[in-house]
């Protein structure tokens, strides 16, 4: 049964990818890539990767779609050039694909419990993590404890990406809010038309933020954690910006504050590492934080997840602000 679902979803994915290749309306491609990421996420759930599915749903479908839409809004909605040298490309692609498929012949069958990958590090994580880290969710314990240094790297990457986006496109046209809104066709009357939408979204935003907090602090026991919570929290702000305009959203939290929050998140993460060093442990060795190693682990994971969450949240909102401040400029 699981196999049937798996195969059907994979087939849908293939169809979607082909359609993305064929269609030249960029809007249609963006809609299809939204579907593509929904399909991916369901596939991840059917293959037991619930945390990954969580992230993919929040990031791929939500944020990526919004960013792509604001880009085509500011540039062009149509692909104008025909594919270049399609036959040669097809040849290259087929040859590469054939070599890769030949490579899979030696790979263990799908779901084989005797595959080498399941016999090296994973058994130790599965057996020992509950005694060593104390978290039910093994993905969380690997992410933030065993491989905490990796995650610090990822957080810094996200931070850098956010800084680069702001550095590249900035918040241009910030002074000319009135002009831009008139140009984009968003006036006060216009927003008043969507009365139902505004009320419903107003109702939802607190619930979304609350849910984000739940995901943040529940990461030890179920799917979730800093990355996902940050994105969900950011999507609450994106809702607000979409409905009430960029001006209002920037009055709630200004880009300057957001960049401070982002830096604070990374600092929290790094600070926990330094603290453990000072208290006589290794870098990010949470055992020394409290007398009881398990409590120390708990505290450490809590703090660094908080750091990750705040960084991801503020960077996502910053990126969204940067993109949507560009959106109406040209019209």
């Amino acid at each position: 049964m699981e196999l049937i679902i798996d195969i059907t979803l994979l087939t849908f994915l293939g169809l979607t990818a082909l359609a993305i290749n064929r269609i030249d309306k960029l809007f249609c491609i963006i809609m299809l890539s939204g579907i593509y990421s929904l399909l991916c996420a369901s596939l991840f759930v059917s293959m037991d990767a619930v945390d990954v599915a969580f992230t993919e749903a929040a990031v791929g479908t939500g944020i990526a779609t919004v960013l792509l839409l604001s880009t085509i809004g500011a540039t062009d909605t149509q692909q104008r050039s025909a594919p270049q040298r399609p036959l040669f490309a097809l040849l290259v692609v087929c040859a590469t694909g054939a070599i890769l498929v030949y490579g899979t012949m030696d790979m263990p069958a799908f779901g084989d419990p005797d595959a080498p990958i399941h016999h090296h590090v994973a058994p130790r994580y599965l057996e020992m993590s509950q005694q060593e880290v104390g978290s039910d969710n093994i993905v969380t314990s690997i992410l933030s404890s065993y491989r905490g240094f990796d995650t610090l790297g990822e957080t810094v990457v996200i931070f850098t990406a956010g800084l680069s986006v702001v550095g590249l496109i900035g918040f241009r046209g910030m002074q000319k809010f009135g002009d831009r809104q008139r140009a984009a066709g968003i006036t006060q009357d216009d927003m008043g038309k969507h009365l139902v939408l505004r009320i419903v979204i107003k109702m939802f935003i607190p619930l979304i933020l609350l849910f984000a907090l739940y995901v943040q602090f529940h990461g030890d026991f179920g799917p979730g954690g800093g990355f996902q919570a940050g994105v969900i929290f950011a999507s609450g702000f994106i809702f607000y910006t979409l409905m009430f305009g960029l001006d209002a959203a920037m009055r709630v939290v200004s880009p300057r504050t957001l960049s401070y929050i982002a830096a604070l998140g990374v600092l929290t993460y790094g600070g926990v590492g330094i603290t453990t060093l000072l208290m006589g442990g290794n870098f990010l060795d949470y055992n020394v934080l409290r007398p009881d190693p398990l409590q120390g682990q708990h505290l450490g994971i809590f703090l660094i997840e908080l750091g990750v969450g705040t960084t991801v949240f503020s960077i996502m909102v910053l990126i969204f602000f940067a993109f949507s401040s560009r959106k109406g400029l040209r019209q």
Partner: protein, 117 residues
């Protein structure tokens, strides 16, 4: 050899090659970025397929469950997804800048304008 044994890998390779094809043939920069996303996602699918254990469930410890899927690839991919969207955002920002400078997002038109300078 039954068909389910390698189907996941093959589809992952198919998606990867579709993404590759989109990147190398299409001149539209946004479409190139979406092709790059297809490529990235195919790698995710490959990793997650490797992690699956038949009869296992999600690696969240619960009483009465013995077999869990391998959690390590999940961790790697989880962070890769967030980094992927961050890099996409940087790419889109570059596209916006290119549009400002050249007034187009088609690769060949950009080349023409570069040559005429």
């Amino acid at each position: 050899m039954n068909i389910g044994a390698h189907y996941n890998y093959w589809v992952a390779i198919f998606l990867m090659m579709t993404g590759f094809y989109v990147v190398i043939t299409h001149g539209n920069l946004i479409k190139k970025l979406i092709g790059l996303n297809l490529f990235t996602t195919s790698v995710f699918i490959l990793y997650i397929s490797l992690a699956k254990v038949k009869g296992g469930t999600a690696p969240i410890i619960a009483p009465g469950i013995e077999v869990y899927s391998n959690p390590l690839p999940h961790v790697l991919i989880l962070t890769a997804i967030v980094v992927g969207v961050a890099t996409t955002a940087v790419g889109l920002a570059l596209v916006l800048l290119i549009y400002d400078r050249y007034g187009t997002i088609e690769e060949d038109e950009i080349r023409l304008k570069d040559d005429s300078l």
